[in-house]
């Protein structure tokens, strides 16, 4: 689905990602691991068009993404849940979800109503807080809303940047279960950046490990989880 070849990207002329290549197969869940500052967020932002690549190719279903504005990337079927949640503070939970509606949502069976139901089922807390303004939500509630907005959009590919941040353990588990479920049922593809490697590797199919803007390891999640170096660095002793 997503094909990244020799991507170099960064800020103000200084590259963060160096010549990075990565593939996301249709219908798979791909996990990206890496230390703080490795460039994971930069990778996600480059895919979604918030950061302009300096060189290299980004192909979504064979069509180039590089140079597209963020809003056009969304139209191509990619939803990005950014690090730091970024819910709209002055809109209610419901309005935040309405704003995230895309053409794909409307076309899908059941349309927006169905999609909304799904989000509320996954995060009942959001349903309770339906009419509450974004800013006043607790940190975890905001995180749920951010993920909910991506689900409502019904994209082909969802980019999740540290979705577990600030989530309580139970919610966190049910979210990962839901990701697996969405993937199985609708065939939605996921690219997930996560500090909590253990959980991510549990649901993922493939994993990449980044260090200082470059890939240092890749393989099936099972292989990666077994790799002693990885285990030491990301899973904790």
């Amino acid at each position: 689905m997503l094909e990244i070849q020799n991507l170099t990207s960064g800020y103000a002329g200084m590259p963060v990602l160096k010549n990075l290549s990565l593939t996301v197969e249709t219908g798979s869940i791909v996990v990206v691991l890496g230390a703080n500052g490795a460039g994971k967020t930069t990778l996600m932002n480059t895919i979604s068009g918030l950061v302009r690549p300096m060189s290299g190719h980004l192909l979504m279903e064979g069509r180039p993404l590089a140079g597209l504005a963020a809003e056009d990337v969304v139209a191509a079927g990619i939803s990005h849940v950014p690090q730091g949640r970024r819910v709209f503070p002055g809109l209610t939970v419901g309005e935040n979800l309405i704003v995230a509606v895309t053409a794909a949502t409307k076309r899908a069976p059941g349309g927006f109503d169905q999609a909304l139901e799904e989000v509320y089922e996954l995060f009942p807390r959001l349903k309770e807080r339906r009419n509450q303004l974004g800013w006043s939500l607790s940190g975890g509630e905001q995180q749920m809303l951010a993920v909910g907005r991506a689900i409502v959009a019904r994209p082909k590919l969802i980019l999740l940047d540290e979705p577990s941040l600030g989530l309580a353990p139970l919610i966190f588990q049910s979210m990962f279960d839901a990701i697996a479920e969405l993937n199985r049922r609708d065939g939605t593809t996921f690219l997930v950046v996560e500090q909590n490697a253990e959980q991510a590797l549990r649901i993922g199919h493939r994993a990449y490990v980044m260090e200082l803007g470059e890939l240092v390891a890749e393989g099936s999640t099972a292989e990666i989880a077994r790799d002693p170096a990885i285990e030491k660095a990301y899973l904790g002793a």
Partner: protein
């Protein structure tokens, strides 16, 4: 064992929503208390009540036996309670060192005239504040960034700067809201060590965190909230085994 902080019967409502209802607990000198609970259970709200940002509808908070409910945040800080924020609140226009020195402000007393005309007492106090700031920046590992802009810090470093700023107020109680968010497990372990050192100096700590590994290894006691109510209190072992906490918060896997 002396009790430093006593929270009794605190209730806080937002419109029709009761974010905290009748919550009580206490904290002893030099102890570390964990505050856990599902998202939206009222943990941050509790911190906001303790630090004076929100006034509770009911209940009282005493610090060393003196009531602090209804006091302005700056008075509470002067009384000995300092905190960090879940959503970072740094002073972006100040350097890293100055951020920490603002934290020291509540322990400074020189007059306006004294600082403008450079009275020796005022200068001494300013030097002392700078030294204190350096000490605490050193403590969180940011000493060499004293004159840098805050914007040059990574997310994790910013959290540490907030800790240094809170410590500069020489608090009796330090309150941390999700200090590990965005940190890797290794960094979280380092932070836990630092917090233990703080506690060893006799400062009591309240910490909110969803990182169970961090919490369980660090704290002396845990208070668990759900829907604004206290559902359990005890040692980490007791909490880990508590059925209510498992059902509401931890899930089976963590138990």
């Amino acid at each position: 064992m002396t009790m430093v902080l006593d929270v009794s019967g605190v209730t806080k409502r937002f419109g029709g929503l009761t974010a905290l209802s009748d919550v009580s607990f206490s904290l002893d000198r030099g102890k570390i208390l964990g505050l856990v609970g599902p998202n939206g259970s009222g943990k941050s709200t509790m911190l906001n009540v303790l630090s004076g940002v929100y006034a509770p509808e009911l209940g009282s908070v005493t610090l060393n036996g003196a009531a602090i409910t209804g006091m302005a945040p700056n008075q509470i800080t002067r009384a000995g309670l300092a905190r960090t924020f879940q959503n970072l609140q740094l002073f972006g226009g100040l350097t890293i060192g100055q951020n920490v020195m603002v934290g020291r402000n509540c322990r400074m007393s020189s007059s306006l005239l004294g600082t403008i005309f450079g009275f020796s007492s005022a200068r001494r106090e300013e030097d002392e504040a700078r030294e204190t700031a350096r000490t605490y920046l050193d403590f969180v590992g940011l000493a060499d960034r004293f004159d840098d802009e805050t914007s040059s810090l990574s997310y994790g470093e910013r959290r540490l700067l907030e800790v240094a700023r809170a410590l500069a107020a020489s608090p009796e109680v330090l309150m941390l809201d999700e200090p590990c968010a965005g940190l890797s497990q290794g960094e979280a372990d380092d932070l836990a060590d630092s917090i233990r050192q703080v506690a060893a100096q006799g400062i009591s700590v309240i910490v909110i965190e969803h990182n169970m590994r961090f919490i369980m290894q660090l704290v002396d006691r845990i208070v668990a909230l759900n829907f604004g109510q206290k559902i359990a209190e005890g040692t980490p072992q007791e909490i880990r085994a508590n059925e209510d906490v498992i059902a509401a918060y931890l899930g089976r896997r963590h138990a």
